[in-house]
């Protein structure tokens, strides 16, 4: 094919597939990333789709995108700017032009860049000149007419023919990155086993795109990205919502408990309920409740009955669950509340990401109502923190709020599949059947957790509830008892700190600047710090996953840096929280509330500015 003379190697590359909601861009991106992962690249992906299921065709509001960042070394983010943009229509150029690297490659469907579509996207005549993209590597491919030509003898209706446009585009991208078509072809054979005609049409379009790219001169050189150095093991691609769900399933299996999920559909958390509902094979009891409140209340009932209980939601739903979380605090039952954060307040930006529910998670209840709060950092480590959340909830008999976000929920990355036998044990603190009478609020001296007496167990009949009680379980309004119990509940949560790992510093353990992040923005912050370190700055990074209680070594870590900057996708909630806990340090803030993740570039710029300010 004459490729060998025309190949360049690159460390990493970012590709964005973009088109109308109906153009199949999510599938195209997924197939591309699966092929890249099978080849051995490290990668991270992020889908970006409109809130409307079918926004008006051809408009910017209806553009659906899927970004893949793959590389030869560790990839932490879906990337800031794309090296290659595939645009199926003018609106896709409109929505994404600013996200393409200067001089990058833009592949578009020339047949779709016609009068009406150009107008709908808000252009007058020519998107390329109007966006000043003349210096870019523009590939105007007649994708629609090429698939029509390639499939003219296959007896398909025109709609089905045009539906293969995305595969033509994917074929071109495979050529550009020297990828094999085999995996994608197998996918179609399997997916359309009962419709061989459709499978064949997609394969033909894919190959047609591949050979078209080979023929035209413009798509050279071919870009080669060597496989990454990845720890040995079996891998799969996983998104945050699935990974979260599986973390709970693993915890239930390890603890020997049945699992119950009570949830109400809400974007972007619905994927969790859907995955639970699909897992009847593992005995999951999933209950689609009539509302958010019934979701958590049914979970509390199931926790009382001895199940690992989970409820999943997003910000507005967490608000509705507040009172019941307070009941869980009082009843001291293990329940995990997952909040897949989205842009707020109110309905806000349902399909976009934000980290602005931190204070709601920490404090959004009446009374002294401490809960454990954890936050996951990447799609794959949602598994780990869901498992941790369940372990802490069970072993400490407390509600735990697990914060993920829209970016983690929908993003995917390769995940090294763990072995169940390697996961830490989970030991439910069951009440001793022989210890009668059972005192519902008698505590374990070490953790201060009460014991779990499961209905159906003879001799352990007892009553719990939202009213303040004595250790015996008797309702009590005695002032001293209330204070005692409030302190017990606070101390019980505080003592979880004994069981959690300390902060890990990325970089030197002292220096000019410590960049601090929490939860889902880790990838961008790590990438920025890595680049800053390469450029010679004395910058280190810590990421918090344990929000309440905080790890024990915070003071020790913070004290060795001249400056501390807290970066988060809100107006400074974690910075404020740190100020209240560790007031001896001063905190710079890097904030963003645009419904999207940080970019590595902006973090770098802000860090440099903070370093230069005196």
């Amino acid at each position: 094919m004459g490729k060998s003379s025309n190949i360049v190697s690159k460390e990493e590359v970012v590709i964005r597939f973009s088109g109308d909601s109906g153009d199949g861009m999510q599938l195209t991106g997924t197939l591309f990333s699966d092929t890249a992962a099978l080849y051995g690249n490290d990668l991270t992906t992020f889908p970006d789709y409109p809130a409307e299921i079918r926004a008006p065709q051809g408009t910017v509001g209806g553009v659906s995108g899927f970004q893949v960042h793959l590389g030869h070394s560790e990839i932490e983010t879906p990337g800031d700017y794309a090296d290659v943009l595939v645009a199926m229509n003018p609106a896709a150029v409109k929505a994404n032009a600013i996200w393409v690297k200067k001089g990058g490659t833009i592949i578009y469907d020339k047949d779709n860049f016609t009068g009406k579509n150009i107008e709908k996207a808000g252009y007058i005549k020519d998107p390329v000149t109007e966006e000043k993209l003349e210096t870019y590597n523009i590939i105007a491919a007649p994708i629609s007419s090429m698939v029509k030509e390639a499939l003219k003898d296959y007896g398909l209706d025109p709609k089905s023919v045009l539906r293969t446009k995305n595969m033509f585009a994917l074929g071109m991208v495979y050529w550009l990155f020297d990828r094999k078509l085999k995996y994608t072809e197998q996918y179609f054979d399997k997916k359309f086993a009962n419709k061989p005609q459709i499978a064949e049409a997609n394969k033909v379009a894919l190959r047609a795109g591949y050979y078209y790219a080979e023929t035209i001169e413009a798509l050279r050189p071919v870009i080669k990205i060597q496989p990454a150095q990845i720890a040995p093991g079996t891998y799969r691609n996983i998104n945050g919502n699935t990974s979260t769900t599986w973390g709970f399933l693993a915890a239930a299996e390890k603890a020997g408990l049945n699992i119950f999920v009570g949830s109400y559909p809400i974007t972007p958390a619905t994927g969790i309920l859907e995955e639970f509902a699909a897992r009847k094979d593992l005995g999951v009891k999933s209950f689609q409740a009539e509302d958010e409140i019934a979701g958590i209340c049914s979970a509390l009932g199931a926790a009382f009955a001895g199940n690992l209980a989970v409820t999943s939601t997003s910000g507005p739903g967490l608000a509705l669950k507040s009172e019941a979380i307070g009941l869980a605090v009082m009843a001291e039952l293990p329940v995990v509340i997952v909040n897949v954060q989205r842009g707020g307040p109110s309905t806000g930006l349902p399909t976009k990401t934000e980290q602005a529910d931190l204070l709601q998670a920490l404090y959004g209840r009446n009374g002294e109502s401490p809960v454990v709060v954890l936050a996951a950092s990447s799609p794959a480590d949602c598994f780990h923190f869901a498992y941790e959340a369940a372990k802490i909830a069970i072993e400490h008999m407390t509600p735990v709020i697990l914060l993920t976000d829209g970016y983690l929920a929908n993003g995917t990355e390769p995940w090294k599949i763990p072995d169940m036998k390697d996961l830490p044990a989970i030991t439910p603190p069951f009440a001793d059947k022989n210890e009668m009478p059972f005192l519902p609020y008698k505590r374990n001296c070490d953790t201060l957790a009460r014991f779990w007496a499961i209905p159906g167990t003879k001799g352990l009949e007892h009553r719990i509830g939202g009213l303040e009680k004595t250790a015996k379980g008797t309702v009590s309004h005695i002032p001293e008892n209330h204070e005692l119990m409030v302190n017990f509940r606070a101390e019980k949560v505080a003592r979880v700190a004994e069981k959690i790992p300390g902060l890990k510093i990325r970089g030197a353990d002292s220096g000019d600047l410590l960049l601090v992040g929490w939860g889902g923005s880790r990838g961008y912050l790590v990438s920025a710090v890595r680049e800053l370190q390469k450029e010679g700055y004395n910058v280190s990074f810590v990421n918090f996953n344990y929000i309440n209680p905080l790890p024990k070594n915070v003071r020790e870590v913070f004290s060795k840096f001249k400056k501390i900057a807290v970066a988060e996708l809100n107006l400074g909630q974690f910075a404020g929280y740190l100020r209240s806990k560790y007031s001896e340090f001063s905190y710079e803030q890097i904030n963003k509330v645009m419904g999207m993740p940080f970019t590595t570039t902006e973090i770098k710029d802000k860090c440099i500015k903070i370093l230069e300010d005196n």
Partner: protein, 340 residues
């Protein structure tokens, strides 16, 4: 009534060590007695009973039962009880609630629980008033009732509990009077035996804030003439002299006197609680004095699939045909690749 079973409990076995704190003369005391009388008859080991409540006077109930109990939050007892029952269908789960708890703040959970037909026994104490907050009107208060929050009379139409249950596709609805412990006990036993959501409305007297609200039908002096105790497959007959009955005239129920106009007992409607079509149950549940006697007893009791049972069946069926039997199986299913 007593049947042979291995558990020989007496009502005393179900009394907890807590002092009962309802107002003296409150109808709740009698309801507690009736429940404690009913449970020993069921042949269920004590540790399998769970009482769940919301908030309100009635909701203190679980503390007085020596069983597993969960005193929840306002309006949410149906949701909590649903979770308990779905998690462990072996348990006998009872929800104790009031007209405010179940029909105002908890209305949504109530109707959806009934719709799903989860096997719960819901005892709804209907005193047509908010007692614990000291006397505000409730969703069942008669229109015009003067209370602290309706000083000039309410301007809202009340809910009828039976109508709501049937409207939510309920399969078991019964009504009783707090003071009638014998009838109540029988109903609780039947409700417990019924598979599916059983709702029992108890006309309950609040001695402090709404005293005598049900008196015009429950008073000893005229209750026989103003209530009709329905029994499955028996004629709908009532009255002190047992001489009044119900017939269907056109599309409406009509009260007739046996012996007048040639009407005999055989002309009266026979109660069929098991009839799936709820038409007549709806009319019976909505009978109001003085036009009609108020219906007591089991108005509707129709068998049907329960949510928790169908869920278990679905799980069993899917488990039969899957290759995924553990987390290791699941995590290695679908597309994976090996890195060496």
């Amino acid at each position: 009534m007593t049947e042979l079973h291995p558990y020989q409990y007496t009502p005393k076995d179900f009394k907890s060590d807590q002092e009962v704190r309802w107002c003296p003369g409150c109808g709740d005391h009698a309801i507690l007695n009736a429940v404690q009388k009913a449970l020993p008859e069921l042949g269920i080991p004590k540790e399998k009973f769970v009482f769940v409540s919301g908030i309100g006077c009635s909701s203190r109930f679980p503390y007085y039962m020596d069983t597993y109990g969960f005193h929840g939050i306002h309006g949410r007892a149906s949701a909590i009880a649903s979770g308990v029952k779905i998690a462990n269908p072996e348990l006998s789960v009872w929800q104790i609630t009031g007209d405010g708890d179940a029909l105002a703040i908890g209305g949504n959970h109530f109707i959806h629980t009934v719709r799903r037909n989860i096997d719960l026994n819901i005892i709804l104490f209907n005193n047509e008033i908010y007692g614990l907050t000291k006397g505000q009107y409730s969703p069942t208060s008669e229109k015009g009732l003067v209370t602290k929050t309706s000083p000039f009379g309410t301007i809202e139409e009340p809910f009828s509990v039976g109508e709501l249950v049937i409207g939510a596709r309920g399969r078991f609805f019964a009504r009783t009077v707090d003071a009638n412990v014998t009838l109540s006990t029988q109903i609780y036993i039947e409700a417990a035996r019924h598979k599916g959501t059983s709702v029992i409305e108890v006309l309950q007297n609040c001695v402090i804030f709404n005293d005598g609200i049900h008196d015009n039908v429950t008073n000893r002096d005229f209750r026989d003439d103003r209530t009709l105790i329905l029994r499955h497959e028996e004629p709908m007959i009532f009255g002190k002299e047992n001489d009044k009955g119900l017939i269907l005239e056109g599309l409406k129920l009509k009260v007739v006197k046996v012996g007048e106009n040639g009407i005999t007992v055989n002309d009266l409607l026979k109660h069929d609680a098991k009839e799936p079509n709820p038409g007549i149950h709806y009319m019976l549940a909505n009978m109001r004095y003085p036009e009609y006697p108020v219906a007591l007893g089991i108005i509707r009791s129709v068998e049907g699939n329960t949510y928790e049972n169908d869920l278990e069946l679905q799980i069993k069926e899917i488990k039969k045909n899957t290759e995924i039997r553990s987390m290791d199986d699941l995590m290695h299913s679908g597309s994976t690749w090996k890195v060496k």
